[in-house]
Symmetry: C2
Subunit: 335 residues, 2 copies
Amino acid sequence: MRKLINNPDAVVEEMLRGLALVNPGVRLEPESRVIGRKDFGKKVGLVSGGGSGHEPTHAGYVGPGMLDAAVVGNVFASPSADAIVKGIEMANGGMGVLLIVKNYSGDIMNFGLAAELARDLGIEVAEVIVKDDVAVPDSTFSTGRRGVAGTIFVHKLAGAAAEAGLNLFEVTRVAQKAIDNVRSFGVSLSSCVLPAVGKPGFEMADDEMELGMGIHGEPGLERVKTMIAFEAAEYMIGKILIDLDYRDRECAVMVNGLGGTPLMELYIMAAEVDKLIKKRGLDPIRYYVGEFMTSLDMVGASISILRLDDELKQYLFAPADTPGLKEKGKCWRCQ
Amino acid sequence: MRKLINNPDAVVEEMLRGLALVNPGVRLEPESRVIGRKDFGKKVGLVSGGGSGHEPTHAGYVGPGMLDAAVVGNVFASPSADAIVKGIEMANGGMGVLLIVKNYSGDIMNFGLAAELARDLGIEVAEVIVKDDVAVPDSTFSTGRRGVAGTIFVHKLAGAAAEAGLNLFEVTRVAQKAIDNVRSFGVSLSSCVLPAVGKPGFEMADDEMELGMGIHGEPGLERVKTMIAFEAAEYMIGKILIDLDYRDRECAVMVNGLGGTPLMELYIMAAEVDKLIKKRGLDPIRYYVGEFMTSLDMVGASISILRLDDELKQYLFAPADTPGLKEKGKCWRCQ
């Protein structure tokens, strides 16, 4: 097994210890596996989470301008409702807490239950469900579309709205607006290897590509011979643009690596995407290229496109300081 | 071939177009393959470069607080002296230019020649050579130690010194001080696949690990059975600490992925490194975990440790805003 790990059953605990090292502004609750901000002012709290194996999602997005707590489950498995309640408590600054949940059955169930339990504790809790993946209408672990890398935009925009002092109703509105305006599609060139399994979940030939594969290796639309970057980008962009009308609109574009694909190839994909969407009338004003929501060591990439208006643009460019995403805000050198 | 590329012979041009998209503060000179800052004040210019395939190194570090230009060669091949001269001209703000060069024969020759040519054009040029890899005394492409991920610290510290307005002599002194205080060691669990070749440069069994492999797949110290993360970290730390006395000193630690290793494993490595170096009397005050200097899709990781004093610490924490490394400086929310 080509992995730098110790005990396969301890990868989550050990990974979280490492993550806490790079982000001195957080504390780790090892029992419940929550990463939460140490200090934040009176504001709406933002909580996300889900199975691990998607780093830096979600624990890497805890910090000023994004999440206040992330609750981390086992590899590809939802955290427990009890752990999520702990996260809600850590994120509660007295103005209520918004849960940002990707649309997978386990997460829907456990975050929903946790919301009820937290309300019983007197905390005001709202919830949004991200379902940005246009690949398949239903999937192995989801009824309805899956939530994938577009979730990072929801963290960013809702996070900025919360930092701006908006109330729970308004922050929830901004999060839902982000969800309504983002679409994603991914392709993979390999399975991923779960630490506890030690071999690929399924076999893919060296010259095969899965179009629309999920971030847990769920089946996509079809298995084809490997496309070149231009063909893959054209296919993905086609699927995204047919689902939402982006014409003549400013947008932000994320080209996300799934764990095993190097940055060089993500930049090549970004260059293709840029040519294609400009030809289709989109106005891309910001690119994010890198690993934002991975699938262990899977080879592949996803594209997410966020349609912007003035309000979303303002929150997109607001400052953020997390290991997974940093945004300087208006000044970077005003010391 | 599990790669999202188009023409294997065009990966560098296409990758640079994508990189320019994520960094609106730069312009790309496609002919000479230089990425340079559009605007910078009167300051010492910083130029680095080398073969591509190591993204975000070096072109991803062009921006405020780090490099002013990066010159990009073919995959694993040095850029030409003419291209480097172009980079020097782009980075020249009237206070001279410092070249930060990794110790590989091709780079040494071409950057050295470019420095001479630029001096003939009336530009004051200084040069530092990074040789942080303690694995082997000489290597396939180097006489003396190889330059690897510790180079990013040199970019950061010299970049901050240049932004602070220091003159060429002083910026060069800071860069050399960074070089004198950083050591690195890497391990790999696979070869990498060159786009133009399409298959691994050599075979490694699934249960093998190369200790001290170079970032172009150059041989390391030995091939062993795969170690667990703790054992690998202990071995790597041992090699680094025997080479430089870090005891009772503050330090910055980089755990760098080589392209095919997911963030989860890098965090696990970081947690091991932290335990080990604290036991040995080091005081780690800052961790960098992610992909900073890759080797295409190679599976593996390197550790770099920078020994700090008050001067280096000040430059380490100064603001920077590049795709590869962002540092907020003292304020992130002063809008």
